[in-house]
Each structure stands twice: as structure tokens, then as C-alpha cells.
Amino acid sequence: MQLGKEVGTGFVSDDAEATVGEEVAAPPETADAPAPDASALVASEPEPTAAG
């Protein structure tokens, strides 16, 4: 899976995970933030090629 160049790193928690077993999940494609668009940052890391 070619993902392109690295544009950022970080950490994000999934607060909904703790309650997902107790309530109906939110409609797909609306509840979570979409992955942000690529920024102008350019990394020298090799592009990942494998899917996990």
C-alpha cells in the first residue's frame, strides 16, 4: 500500500472505543475527523509499501 510521503506524526485517542460495545456506533464517514490533506511538509523517509 503506497501511502506517499510522510507529512506528520502524533497521537490521538479513540474515546468512543470504551463505549462502542454499549451503544450503536455513529454513522460511517461522519463521526470521526477525516484524515487531513497532505501538507507541504516533505519527509526523507522511504514510502511504506506493505499493508497491515
Binding site: T9, G10, A16, P28, A35, A50, G52
Partner: protein, 232 residues
Amino acid sequence: MLASRAAPERPDRPFTGFKLAHAVVASEDGQAGFAGLTMGAQRVYGTTAEAACIWTRRHAPPRRRCSCGFYCLNSLAEARALSCATENRDAVLLEVTASGRFIRYERGLRYSRQRVRAVRVGPCGCGRPARGLADAGRGLVGWRGLMPVCAGCGASRALITFGGFATRLGGQIPVTPDEGAAGWPGQAGEGLPDAGLPDAAAIAALGAEMALVHARLDHLQARFNQLEGGES
């Protein structure tokens, strides 16, 4: 390395991503899960999972200069495009919530924690919409690999319905046909008369009739041989 100098990001909400995986079912208890396509092909994960590096336990995924971690694409369309590749034709499309440590790329993410939110099943290999999942003829130790099949191709095969697969996943995840997936450019069977499905009873009846005809031919041949013998 500009990216490495950038401040770590702390988004308010986890990411939504799309990826492909092979649907699998446990041979012992029927529990469902997913296996990755390449690096993660030998590991089965459930609806929530924490990534582990397959190379070493000395670092936590995802790590730069290693290929570990879960992967997903930002775009549903790109995930569908990936499913056209020969090696991915049997895969199902997952909509996931990606969280934990992450490395963000132009087209997707590598990340440490994953929650599957929806499973979309692409068309059968014949081009018709899938109606369930059948044994794909491959698997891992303890896990049978599944593939999408339509009603016709799955008529004589053991089939796990979408509802059945959802139940085996724990009943919280919708499993549906991927209506947006482009099948063949035309209708299935377009331009050809519908031959219908093979009827097991009809095949059995035809077999019996053929056996009867063979017996009659043998009988006629024997009579013919007798007549020939009488004349000589």
C-alpha cells in the same frame, strides 16, 4: 527531515480510514476476524486491535524506518481501486477508526490502534453482487479464508451470510455489500441468455436416464451379437 522536526500532532478526534483485509472465520468456534494483505497476512485481528511489530518487540508501532503498524487510506475510492488488484480481489473493504500513535502520509496513515466500524463486501468474481462469504480455499492455522460469492456461484457451497458474519464479529459491526463498488462494466451475463443455475435434482435425473440408455444399448448390443452369431 522537515516532518521529524514538526511538533507532534494531537488531533481532537481519531481518524477515519479505509483499508482492505481478508475475512476469516475460526475453524474451532466460528469467530470471525480479518487478516492483512501483505505484512499482516499471517496475523488475524478482530474489530478492535493493537498493532504489534512483526519484526521485533523492541519498539512500538508505527516506527519510522520500519514498516510496522496498521495501514489505512484516507479515501474510500482509493481503497476500492486497490481492491481491483489481482491479489486483492477476494478482500473485503473495512472502514476503520485509526487512533493511538500515528504517522500521517499524503494518502493515508500508519497507526497503532484500530477499530473496525463497517465491513463492505465487493462483488463476486463473476461480477454479480455478493450475497455472502464462502471458503476461499486458503487460510491460516485455525482460520479459514473467505471470499465474496453471489447467489449463483454460492448455490452449491457453504455460505456465511453478511448477517452471519456480522454476528460472528460480535454483532456491533455492519456487514453490507459494497454498493459503490463498480463490478463489471456491463450487466452480469449481458448479451447471453441466462442459463440458470444447475439443478441438482435435474442432474441426478439425467444421470439416471443416461444409465438406463447405457443399459438398453448393452442389451441391444448383446442381442445383435446373438443374431450375428446365429447367422454365421
